[in-house]
Amino acid sequence: MDLLRFITCGSVDDGKSTLIGRLLYDSDSVSLDVLAALENRPTVHGTVDLALLTDGLRAEREQGITIDVAYKYFTTPRRKFIITDAPGHVQYTRNMVTGASTADLAIVLVDARQGVVEQTRRHSLIASLVGIRHFVLAVNKMDLVNNDQAVFDQIVADYAAVADQLKLPHVTAIPLSALLGDNIVAHSKNLSWYTGPSLLEHLESVPAFEEATIADARFQVQYVIRPQTDDYPDYRGYAGRIQSGTYRRGDRVHILPSGQESVIEAIEVNQQEVESAAAPQAVVLRLTDDVDISRGDSIVPVGSQIHVAKELEATICWMDERPLWPGRKLLVQHHSAVVKAVVSAITYKVNVRTYGRAATESAQLNDIVGIRLKTAAPLVVDSYQQNRATGAFILVDELSGDTLAAGMVETMQNSFVPEPLGFTI
């Protein structure tokens, strides 16, 4: 059994929470006491309001909206699913970026009566920007348009233009009614003209984690294990998670950014030595040489096309109430590496409606902008397009510690790709 993480996005009242409630309910993931708590609450339709399964905080229940990302879980015989419920309100776009950053698939929910609206375009842009490859266009509330195929076909055609513009790799369109449960788990005879998979069938069959395992090998040191005990007087292990690709015992590696070279002497998983290990395994690497390595350093195979850079261009989503102006000093957190940096320029702002780019002086909350970043120490990065793990970073306020932005590396300036030192070991 494997694992799929997906995000649901759509406008307010498109029925996201109801859809999630329906998936939980129909897959028997809701326990009786939770249902009883729901049944004690007044509802509009006189039935159980499934949306209440996800609206967790008091302010949300009072206002009937979702204000923060909620995580929900359900399991079928084929898969475990982690659902991120991202809010539809414009002012909470940062939460959608948060939810999308860990997702393998996005369900873009559209109200059959409204069709593709500005929020649909915005959410598709964000999901595509953070590298989601699988999209479901879920045309909800089909019951309210008499289950009319022509309405569905028109929306699919409209969305094709969006998918084309964003170059979305995989889009599957499904007509459904979350309220009635049509095409959620089982096929509905109300929509008999639709012959594709139900939503759950599709979620169970989409390939997960395809990129991380086939990408180039990447590893960053989180923690150095040095027991210094009688049993392990000289043991020095580099603990971290394989971010992508596969590592093998005997691999020649570069330690970056320093550029030293060594060989993997052992790979340990749970104190057992293994011949090879792959993403996303948490491992300990031991090297043949006693080299200077600390938290935040990368260990990559010699010959990797990775960049060591102090100047980057990146796309960011600004998440702070106070706007970003050029010249701002802050911290870049690139997984376990943290360096000081300055935003030397804001190069463009993305129009989330047209996807066009325009010049801008500053970035406001929820803006998606291009920036140029100069760092005080080199970062070891790939472009986000190349590698979703090593191309991602966050910007952090040095004083408050608040997370200010989500960043994705586009290009590197004045960087170098490490060359093998040329001697054989």
Binding site: M1, G56, D68, K80, Y223, T246, A282
Partner: protein, 303 residues
């Protein structure tokens, strides 16, 4: 080359180990909150995988309500000894005396709300900057919205509207003086995931998780509560002898038992697959007070 296959438990495990190592890398004085319950026992197994052959970069810390099950306390001590790791125990009893707090009243005097006071005292005493806990998002609706790295102010308070966005698996633990971070490495695990992991890893648990005969009080709700000296019973209370087990091992005055013959982990998993009542719903008396019960307690510094 064929790509290796990883089970969902492998992925959850790798995520949790990554989170534990981030705590070790980012904080000066972290602690692992350890109750002797199954979730915190799983955390110790994950910590072994993250840090061996080295020592844990944090002590185990237990806030003892004084109402804990003796079997669990014994287990706690023997596991800490077996791991060779430092165990710090602080008691709610002492906090009550020191801060002159009022003991909870009623028939079933739960000290759960008072745990927060002792926890905050302990954080201050040791200057902990991060506390690792075994809470899971599937336990409760407010928990479903909490980050994996959850920043708390000086009073341990959680402000759901001021949560930091948590992007990818980049965990931002940067804090100001006086603040601390609660860290939940098994956020994405469900109760069933925890049990399947215990099964797969062959992890030992306190005996009260398995079916055993126990003298219980029948509550008006029909729930069973193990008889103990802290309860203030009336003559009319019905006392019965039942085969029961516990799904969680909190304060013995407010943790109900469920009837079960489950003798092994396999039996428990079978039980769970058939069970239709959530873990907290089945066993916690104090969460039923209001729908926002957990949200309020978290805002006030509870785990």
């Amino acid at each position: 080359m064929s790509t290796p296959h990883f089970d969902y438990l492998d992925r959850l495990e790798a995520e949790a180990i990554h989170i534990l190592r981030e705590v070790a890398g980012q904080f000066e004085r972290p602690a692992l909150l350890f109750s002797g319950g199954k979730d915190s026992i799983v955390l110790t197994r994950l910590a072994e995988k993250a840090f061996r052959p080295g020592r844990f970069p944090f002590p185990l810390v237990h806030v003892d309500t004084g109402h804990n099950f003796p079997e669990v306390l014994q287990f706690r001590d023997s596991l800490a000894a077996e791991l060779g790791e430092k165990l710090i125990v602080r008691s709610v009893e002492d906090t009550i005396k020191r801060q002159r707090l009022r003991e909870p009243g009623g028939k079933f005097p739960s000290r759960n709300p008072l745990q927060t006071y002792t926890l905050l005292e302990t954080i201050e005493e040791f200057q902990f900057d991060a506390c690792i806990g075994g809470a899971r998002r599937d336990e409760e609706k407010a928990r479903a919205k909490e980050r994996i790295f959850s920043v708390r102010d000086e009073f341990g308070q959680w402000d759901p509207k001021r949560q930091r966005p948590e992007l990818w698996n980049v965990y931002n633990g940067r804090i100001q003086r006086g603040e601390n971070v609660r860290v939940f490495p098994i956020s994405n695990w469900t109760e069933l995931d925890v049990w399947r992991y215990i099964q797969r890893e062959n992890i030992a648990l306190p005996s009260i998780y398995f079916g055993h005969p126990r003298t219980c009080v029948v509550l008006p709700s029909g729930q069973l509560l193990g008889l103990n000296e802290h309860l203030r019973l009336d003559e009319t209370d019905e006392i019965v002898e039942r085969q029961v087990r516990f799904r969680t091992v909190g304060d013995s005055t407010c943790t109900a038992a469920v009837e079960s013959d489950a003798a092994t982990i396999d039996d428990i998993i079978e039980d769970l697959l058939l069970a239709k009542v959530s873990e907290r719903g089945a066993t916690r008396l104090d969460d039923n007070i209001s729908e926002a019960g957990m949200e309020d307690r978290k805002r006030n510094g509870y785990f």
